[in-house]
Symmetry: C2
């Protein structure tokens, strides 16, 4: 059975005041998008910091001193951090574009799946790199490397810690973009009411 609009005093009473409704959902959408920007920007900052700390982690003074690019795991940390920083920067730009123009950069179905897919893949990439880096850093503490050149080890640890922070915020972004995918599948639009 269909519910028909109620007629009172000869005036048709529409069930949902649609103007009010859409205003509320626009407000919610704006808050949601700002939250995404915050997470993406945090992820950008931390992964950029991780890359910079790792790239500058070479001690001058001859070949005896450790260089970050002599170690596979540290190269992995630097590269993964750089990739995630670039991706996050692009996503911050895409979100700003979306808020200012009210439309996505790519067509909407492509955009929501692009965001979610890349969030997932890059989160795995970054976690993998930082786990490998942690393992190497721990091994170096057991060897004599850190006793001879402690600053190298400390800077590596800081870089890896920033990488894990970046991973955390990328994971949060992944939750939100997953939510947008579900919302898109249900409503046919990324707007969640």
């Amino acid at each position: 059975m269909m519910r028909s609009p109620q007629v009172r005093n000869g005036v048709v009473d529409t069930p949902s005041p649609s103007h009010f409704h859409s205003t509320v959902s626009v407000h919610k959408l704006r808050r949601f998008n700002i939250l995404i920007i915050v997470f993406r920007f945090a992820s950008f900052c931390f992964s950029l910091a991780s890359t910079i700390f790792m790239f500058t982690n070479s001690r001058r003074g001859g070949s005896d001193f450790p260089q970050w690019h002599h170690f596979d795991a540290f190269r992995f940390v630097a590269v993964a951090g750089g990739i995630v920083a670039l991706y996050s920067l692009f996503e911050v730009g895409a979100s700003v574009w979306e808020i200012s123009r009210g439309a996505t950069v790519f067509p909407e179905p492509l955009q929501v799946w692009f965001d979610f897919g890349h969030d997932q893949v890059f989160a795995y990439l970054l976690l993998s790199a930082d786990s490998a880096g942690t393992s190497l850093a721990r091994t170096m503490r057991d060897m004599d490397t850190c006793k001879v050149n402690n600053a190298f080890c400390v800077q590596s640890d800081i870089s890896i810690a920033f990488g894990f922070a970046g991973f955390m915020f990328l994971g949060f972004s992944s939750l939100l973009s997953g939510f947008r995918v579900v919302s898109f599948i249900i409503n046919g639009s990324r707007f969640h009411v």
Copy 2:
């Protein structure tokens, strides 16, 4: 505008023959559930093999010989493999229960979220462990450990490779259980038509 059922020759033509429809969807559901069981069982086998290879990876003959439990990363590999093996075994049991009885072990909303959440978390755990293990294994090849005792290194490599295979199948399961979550949110049931 609503589409009304078409009336031809005085007979109401219902748009979807609902009995046929539900039979098809039950067939599809069964195939989907069997695919989940296959992935979960593969994930169980590989992660169990990973754990067993790591746990038995100690060479007798005195304290000079390397033992797996002297290395943090290898302990992490062994424990993460064990956790994922237990979880996968439980999920295989839950899927068999679901196919045989037609109902989930936990209430349905809890079950779909439980599956998806644990898939995600344990996939990250296993990937992290195996990345750390890979990094340590590579470091050991550069040192003298592997020249002295090559069997230890080979067995570690095999264990880590099994771990990555387990991660891959856990990732596939995670895709399917994510699909079930979306399906549950849309249709109010895990059955996808």
